[in-house]
Symmetry: none
Subunit: 89 residues, 2 copies
């Protein structure tokens, strides 16, 4: 269980500043496989199931390393312009 410290500061976001827990200044991956030192994935082209597969580059996909379309929400929320890498058989 986690007891709140009496001295813990408020986590309420402030204008122009985003409080990010456990992600050092400027990190782009908030949550995916944070137990790994470096998240690397491998696609073996001979094993691809579909003619076209989209791989995530926004670190917001619920099906990472695949793209689940989560970049759309991320781009809308932040004004960013990131998108997937498409791999074509």
């Amino acid at each position: 269980s986690v007891a709140a410290s009496p001295a813990a500061p408020s986590l309420r976001p402030r204008r122009g500043v985003v409080a990010v827990r456990a992600e050092a200044g400027g990190g782009i991956n908030p949550a995916i496989r944070k137990e790994e030192d470096k998240v690397v994935d491998t696609v073996v082209t001979g094993e691809l199931a579909k003619p076209l597969t989209a791989y995530c580059r926004c670190w917001r996909s619920g099906t990472f390393p695949l793209c689940d379309g989560g970049h759309v929400k991320h781009n809308k929320a932040t004004g960013d312009n990131v998108g997937p890498l498409l791999v074509k058989k």
Copy 2:
């Protein structure tokens, strides 16, 4: 550029929380092809030159969409843990 507001709160990091100055409010791509609404690239597996090709997912590569190892500097600077997608012929 970001002009400091007179009312801007301190950006001093707090324990367990990192204050991140909003880059387009949480964007992860600072500079790559910002003239495009969404940066999508396609790999045609039959056209791959090498047995193994690394594709960037950190948005810091000078040879984007290829990985140039720039994720190492990004991870060191920020404590992040991102890495490329490897495509194997």
